[in-house]
Amino acid sequence: MNYHKMDQEDILALKQIVEEKNLLTREQIGEDYCHDELGGISSYPDVLIRAGSTGEISAIMKYSYDKNIPVVVRGSGTGLVGAAVALYGGIMLETTQMNHILELDEENLTVTVEPGVLLMELAQFAQDHDFLYPPDPGEKSATIGGNISTNAGGMRAVKYGVTRDYVRALTVVLPTGEIVELGGKIVKNSSGYSLKDLMIGSEGTLGIITKAVLKLVPLPQKSISLLIPYPSMESAIEAVPEIIRSKSAPTAVEFMERETILFAEEYLGKKFPDTQSDAYLLLTFDGSSLEQVEAEYDKTAKLCLSQGALDVLLVDTDERKDSVWSARSAFLEAIKASTTEMDECDVVVPRNHVAEFIKYTHQLAREIDIRIPSFGHAGDGNLHVYICRDELNEEEWKKKLALAFDKMYERANELGGAVSGEHGIGYAKQAFLEQQVGKTQIRLMQGIKQVFDPKGLLNPGKVVCGASK
């Protein structure tokens, strides 16, 4: 790819568009900006711009389009697949200063935000106004822009769905600098191709999201979690389809293994309320009153006990929720701390195949002699599987990691799954995407990319741009 190498002239031109303090050149850019949360790949942009408005972004895009400069958009940099790394240098547009909540529309139940608003800020804002913004990915300091760009899911997906289900409208700057408004504050829409939905999950390769109108729901007043111990991982996960079939509606169904809990204990320096059993399910129920929630979980609790659960433990007060959920929230960091290096896979499989898949990872771990801890959203089939390097040397690690990935994605594919449930494809998972969806779909995706971004300037080398071309 032949991009223009940025020079002094470009920097001066860009300083006409943005304030000087919001433009950092190569030597001023911190180390953080060359990688994302998981590390793996590393590359610096030539210029980092902290964008302030849609207008600014449009002007920057016009300039870079004319000059053939690649542009990568970045939020908090909490991604796990290298999507926000400037592989080809150029401009990195950081949206964290566009962090204003613009409007709460209580008649249409929507909130309008800039892309740099953090998930935790939005969640708090909604709660303060007696609303719930349901998508609840583990990384609370991610930006909404990033959440939309990966179609992030999170814990409540079982009952409430994923980010896609809550995006009503987007303001997008195209690579040419043109500004388009996609969707609207409308509940229904059957007007042509849904370009808004193409933007969701496109990981910054089609356009730049500068504003979003999101759907809210009334805040459930009560929530209670159940921590359900099982004698084995298999028995825990096999109970999930039964729970789903029973038509109770938990907001979250998480599974966790004893080993992972022990890592979290070590990492947090705090004991978990129960570690006697090999595996646990963690279910959450919400509703408008204690009675309603109790009636709801009662049915499930009885079902679980009849299906081999050792007990059902009630997580009903703030202290108890904290003791359980703080561990759950620390799993990723805890596994990271337990090993020298790791890579992750967030495959998603049909819910009734979760048990099968987990069993397979256990088998695989034994087969190729590598540690593969996992946890995840049992209720929606989205698993977080971590391959740990531990004491392996570089060569062995690379070999075993590649083998593990190949095998797992292959198995997921056989089960009717997909490469990524919520983290995205980014740089790291492109090959696996192609394996899964096949050449025809990749061709369609590349065609779409071509229409939006004919010069291939936006986030080059990601999603479907790295493989061929």
Binding site: K271, P273, A301, L305, V312, L313, L314, V315, E319
Partner: protein, 274 residues
């Protein structure tokens, strides 16, 4: 080993404020819950029962609704509960509360060990435990972090083992830890984070017998003199309640390093950090 844990029902949130104009307390809802500090005491008691056998009972004083925290303790693993409830106990301060509790404890039966949480989230005084011990005529140890040894209470013991029953504990004394051997019966208050309390069990909830909770009123007590309870038995009086002065001031200092350092020292000194 027979253990009694004193617990309390407290407001579900401490987010209360006083309306500056009317002087009325503003509360977020009226929900209540078990005093979080008591959970550590219950957990400690259950661990002791697992090690030495015996039973764990719980007791509380409060309005009839306070029964729910006794049941919660039963779902966690306690055997029986006692609710001390009587309108004659209204307005009790620390002394009257402790005295009432001590009467209730005597009514509940004989115990080797009385456990309390370190303090409550609504009163914050950390006094009811030690005062109750005094009214029961026993020694106490506050802020116990660990129980190191128990002698004379081995499983099946009590009746068969002769000799003194003792307990060795480690207590937090701010700058140091004190390991103390005490003769049972005695009272301990359990420090925060001494353990991770277990969760209530739905299985136990299903199996629980309503009759495991007894209720006591002043008629059940050895001392029925109303002057020793409630407001009449309380030496302290609340004259008024008012909102605290909020220090929301915020100061930003700029200048050279010497000036900033002087400012720094002044702030640290003013706040008594140096």
């Amino acid at each position: 080993m027979k253990i009694l844990v004193c617990i309390k029902q407290v407001p579900g949130t401490s987010n209360v404020e006083v309306d500056e104009k009317t002087g009325v307390l503003k509360r977020d809802g009226v929900e209540s819950k078990m005093n979080p500090f008591d959970l550590y005491a219950i957990e400690q008691a259950l661990c002791l029962r697992e090690a030495y056998g015996g039973k764990v009972d719980v007791i509380t004083m409060g309005p009839p609704q306070a029964k729910s925290v006794l049941l919660e303790a039963v779902y966690m693993g306690a055997d029986n509960g006692g609710l001390i409830s009587d309108r004659k106990f209204a307005g009790a301060d620390v002394v009257a509360t402790s005295y009432t509790l001590s009467q209730g404890i005597r009514k509940m039966g004989e115990y080797d060990l009385i456990l309390c949480g370190k303090q409550t989230t609504d009163g914050d005084t950390a006094q009811v435990g030690p005062e109750t011990a005094e009214f029961l005529g026993m020694d106490h140890m506050a802020n116990v972090q660990r129980i190191l040894a128990v002698k004379g209470c081995e499983i099946g013991g009590g009746n068969t083992v002769t000799g003194e029953k003792t307990i060795t504990v480690e207590a937090n004394m701010d700058r140091y830890l004190q390991q103390v051997k005490m003769v049972l019966p005695c009272l301990l208050t359990i420090d925060k984070d001494a353990n991770t309390p277990r969760l209530p069990s739905y299985r136990r909830k299903m199996a629980a017998d309503e009759n495991c909770i007894q209720t006591f009123s002043i008629q059940d007590f050895a001392d029925q003199d109303e002057n020793n309870y409630g407001l009449a038995g309380s030496p302290t009086q609340v004259e008024r309640i008012f909102p605290p002065q909020k220090n929301t001031s915020k100061e930003i200092f700029e200048g050279d390093a010497d000036l900033l350092t002087t400012t720094f020292v002044r702030i640290l000194g003013g706040k008594k950090f140096i």
